[in-house]
């Protein structure tokens, strides 16, 4: 089954130049992006984070993937917005009320931006998954904790294997007795049985995997690591730039967030130069790309 997915994974490193940077740089960038996204609910900051995250995901994987992510993220965000506005009716502008429940404009807006904030964080994680492949993660933390790193690498192989195997077992049983199950009780019982097959097969397989590990000397001594990345000047520059932007944006974001409130009424928003550094910081992967084109 030659799928597009298989083609894409012909190279484990994500698209563009940024993923070729030292894992410490890419890791710091994503940590920064996610932390800042969590730290502010100010609408402009939330929007910038969302736009930049989406732009990077589109750059890495294309529009279709962003669409697919949004298809399940958008309902989630709406749900959060609804929940928030229902249970936290602190706003001044009532839109609708019924007994003790009231929906306010402010509550709605807060909910909407909270939803968008969460979506942007999840999209950053999607980008992270593209760029920080397991081997890069392993490299970063592998020397301090080689076993943990190996376990992570093994788990990331196990999850898809288990999913595929579950599907195979389901198909095998479904084709034989699926149509004959009518009651809910029978279906539940069958689900349990399939889980037991999955566990049984998994145990069998893991015995073989551990044999294969022992046969190749796992645990005989101190492990070394194959992967290596070196520190070039460009990496140092990127890290310094990122660090200074983090400090600058920390201050700016604090200022902007303190001045802003959703309740009781939403504070007015004005154009401000202070948003620009945030956008620049989150555009680091693109800046890296542009620097290369500029040569």
């Amino acid at each position: 089954m030659p799928s597009r997915r298989a083609e894409r994974q012909a190279f484990t490193v994500g698209k563009g130049l940024f993923p070729t940077y030292h894992p410490a740089v890419t890791m710091s960038f994503f940590l920064t992006a996610v932390c800042f996204a969590f730290c502010s609910m100010q609408p402009v900051y939330v929007t910038i984070s969302f736009v930049m995250a989406s732009a990077y995901l589109v750059f890495l994987r294309g529009w279709r993937i962003l669409g697919r992510q949004l298809r399940w993220l958008a309902p989630l965000a709406l749900f959060i917005a609804l929940l928030n506005s229902l249970f936290y009716a602190a706003g001044a502008t009532k839109i609708w009320s019924w007994g003790p429940f009231a929906i306010t404009l402010e509550g709605c807006l807060y909910g909407v931006f909270m939803g968008i904030m969460l979506i942007s964080v999840l999209i950053w994680f999607a980008c992270y998954n593209e760029v920080m492949t397991d081997d890069r993660f392993t490299y970063l933390f592998g020397r301090a904790m080689p076993t943990t790193a190996l376990v992570i690498s093994m788990i990331s192989r196990w999850v898809p294997t288990m999913a595929t195997r579950g599907r195979v077992i389901y198909d095998a049983q479904e084709s034989l007795i699926g149509a004959r199950d009518t009651s809910r009780k029978a279906r539940t019982a069958r689900g349990m049985r399939m889980a037991s097959v999955l566990v049984g097969l998994g145990m069998e397989d893991s015995i073989q995997t551990s044999d294969s590990m022992r046969a190749r000397g796992y645990g005989v001594g101190k492990r070394t690591s194959y992967a290596s990345y070196s520190w070039h000047p460009r990496e140092k520059c990127a890290l310094i730039a990122l660090a200074s932007l983090v400090v600058l944006n920390g201050v700016l974001m604090y200022v902007a967030t303190v001045q802003f409130a959703y309740y009781p009424t939403v504070s007015p928003l004005r154009p401000w130069w202070g948003y620009a550094p945030y956008a620049i910081m989150l555009a680091l992967p693109f800046l890296v790309e542009m620097e290369a084109i500029g040569r």
Binding site: D134, S175, D211, R216, G217, V220
Partner: protein, 584 residues
């Protein structure tokens, strides 16, 4: 220059050098593996699994370890790898490269003997190809520079460069098994031990694997010991055969030529596993010369014999016979009613993905034994699930005539077992299938499983497990049976049993549609054959004619007899054409 070679040679496996490596590499007289008076029994059991085994394997040789199911082959093989040796009571001693394996230091032990197992998937530890290659070297603490060089060299030798960065989950089965071999060879073992490494692969991937294995043996001088039941491909590569009896004693230790003579002369049931050329030569009785093993030798041999019998073979032209039909077996006509019919079926797994079934038409009749052959990824399995209704066709339709019951048996029989004993498992579907314990008993008796009722299904041998799964499915009393690779990874004797079961089912009027890579099996059993290629059925024909008209994608027998004794597809056909023997 000479110094450079020496220093390259010296560290061998051990970057943390094992002290005695140099002495060993110069001592040619030391055998790679020696077993002396070796016996084995499981802890707490009295019966010996292996008893009094004595043999010695020369360094750099290619040894096949074979024997019927349950003869303790795997136990013997595992005894050669200290880390994986089965726990139990042993007697006698083992020497690996002249040393006692139990006194190996752990690093040397990991390096000296490499082990490759049956299942390509489960041996992989990490998620990427490069990491899998580096895994062993990382474990023994190889310095990074040395490791990178070793990995690069190995990737080069195995032709892995093109998919070095891939995720292992995206590899084909054949690639996975090659990777497993490479990941072991990268540690520079002196002995390579393989337990049925190709049983889960399709024939093309298996041939590729053997090609590489031959290079590992011939170009790197690594001693190879392999358990294999498909001797057609591997026998020509070997220079040493060990044959175990069901009682766990060594009954043969010698060259492949002697082995073949011995099996043929003794009329051993293991005969079925021998290459087609050898089985054809058996029809001519005792031989003064060497028995043929490969297709090439078989063709020469058969032609010479026919001249001797003053039955002039036609010109030894491989293509020449393609048109002519001196049929030795009248083609069976299938007369049953159509029970399952698919027309213009299109299917894809996802809207983003290409179609994996493209306008397939197929008709299955009651009492028909129908085989679908074709390469891996040609859509065979998908077609079966579409016919079974597990996958819904996006275009076209699958129609069941009347209320026929269709059952699909998945490729891995383990997916069907859920209970702790076989008996419980066979009873499990009573509520669905409306059968009772008497039916289960009858079914077990029929499939020769009665003795095994108390065993855990996972503890059965490959052939037994396949039969057990078949029994479980048949208890549901389907009219159409769809089987995905029912003879994958099982030995020749079990294959013969499955073939007989299929024939019985067809006589009872059930339709049996199966996929198989084993063309000899298909030629033996099927009445109708379809070839799948490019996600569609490219041709459908009565089975005998199918293999006769195929030039390359055909049985070994057909390739041996083409242009010499036309119209023969199985060894039985040859026997019939010559008017002798039972053609086993």
């Amino acid at each position: 220059m000479k110094d450079a070679i020496l220093t390259e040679e010296m560290p061998r496996c051990s970057i943390v050098a094992a002290p005695d490596t140099r002495r060993e590499s110069t001592a040619v007289d030391v055998s790679a593996i020696r077993f002396s008076g070796y016996s084995f029994s499981y802890a707490g059991a009295d019966t010996r699994v292996l008893s009094n085994i004595d043999f010695s394997i020369a360094q750099g040789s290619f040894t096949i370890l074979c024997g019927p199911t349950g003869s303790g082959k795997s136990t013997l093989l595992r005894a050669m790898k200290p880390e994986l040796a089965v726990a139990g009571k042993t007697q006698g001693f083992i020497r690996i490269l002249g040393d006692d394996p139990s006194r190996f230091d752990p690093v040397a032990s990991a390096c000296r003997v490499g082990f490759v197992m049956q299942d390509p998937e489960n041996q992989l530890v990490t998620d990427t190809v490069w990491h899998e290659l580096a895994f062993g070297l990382e474990n023994i603490g190889t310095e990074q520079q040395v490791m990178r060089r070793r990995v690069a060299e190995t990737a080069h030798f195995f032709g892995i460069g093109a998919w070095f960065d891939n995720r292992v989950k995206d590899l084909s089965g054949g690639q996975k098994q090659l990777l497993n071999l490479a990941a072991v060879v990268v540690m520079q073992p002196r002995v390579l031990v393989l337990d049925e490494p190709t049983s889960q692969l399709d024939p093309i991937a298996a041939k590729d694997f053997f090609d590489v294995l031959e290079r590992v043996n011939a170009e790197l001088g690594i001693t190879v010991v392999i358990i294999e039941h498909r001797l057609e491909d591997v026998l020509p590569l070997a220079d040493h055969v060990l044959y175990l009896t069901p009682a766990g004693t060594l009954s043969f230790d010698g060259t492949p030529e002697e082995f073949v003579d011995r099996i043929v002369a003794a009329d051993d049931p293991f005969l079925l596993a021998l290459p087609a050329a050898t089985r054809i030569s058996r029809l001519f009785g005792r031989l003064s010369e060497k028995r043929p093993v490969t297709v090439k030798q078989g063709r020469r041999y058969l032609a010479a014999r026919l001249v001797q019998m003053s039955r002039t073979p036609s010109v030894l032209d491989y293509m020449g016979g393609a048109g002519s039909r001196s049929s030795c077996r009248s083609p069976e006509k299938v007369s049953g009613d159509v029970v399952l019919k698919a027309s213009d079926v299109w299917f894809r797994y996802d809207r983003d993905e290409p179609f994996v079934l493209r306008g397939v038409d197929i008709e299955v009749r009651s009492g028909q034994l129908y085989a679908i052959v074709g390469g891996n990824g040609s859509g065979k399995s998908t077609l079966l699930s579409a016919l079974a209704g597990v996958r819904k066709a996006e275009r076209g339709r699958v129609r069941r005539v009347g209320d026929v019951k269709v059952a699909l048996m998945a490729q891995n029989p383990k997916t069907l077992f859920v209970c702790d004993t076989l008996l419980e498992d066979l009873c499990e579907w009573q509520e669905y299938g409306a059968y009772d314990i008497a039916d289960v008993d009858a079914m077990m008796a029929r499939f020769d499983l009665s003795e095994l009722g108390a065993r855990h299904p996972y503890d059965l041998s490959g052939g037994e497990m396949q039969k057990a799964a078949l029994a479980k499915v048949l208890l549901l009393d389907p009219d159409v049976l769809l089987l995905d690779e029912p003879v994958k990874g099982i030995d020749a004797v079990a294959k013969r049993e499955i073939a007989q079961i299929f024939e019985q089912l067809a006589e009872e009027g059930k339709a049996v549609l199966f996929t198989a890579h084993d063309l000899e099996f298909v030629a033996d059993v099927a009445q109708t054959c379809s070839m799948m290629f490019g996600y569609d059925i490219t041709c459908t024909q009565e089975c005998h004619g199918f293999f006769q008209d195929n030039l390359f994608y055909s049985t070994a027998t057909s390739r041996i007899t083409r242009g010499i004794l036309d119209g023969c597809v199985t060894v039985e056909d040859v026997a019939a054409a010559l008017g002798r023997g039972d053609g086993r």
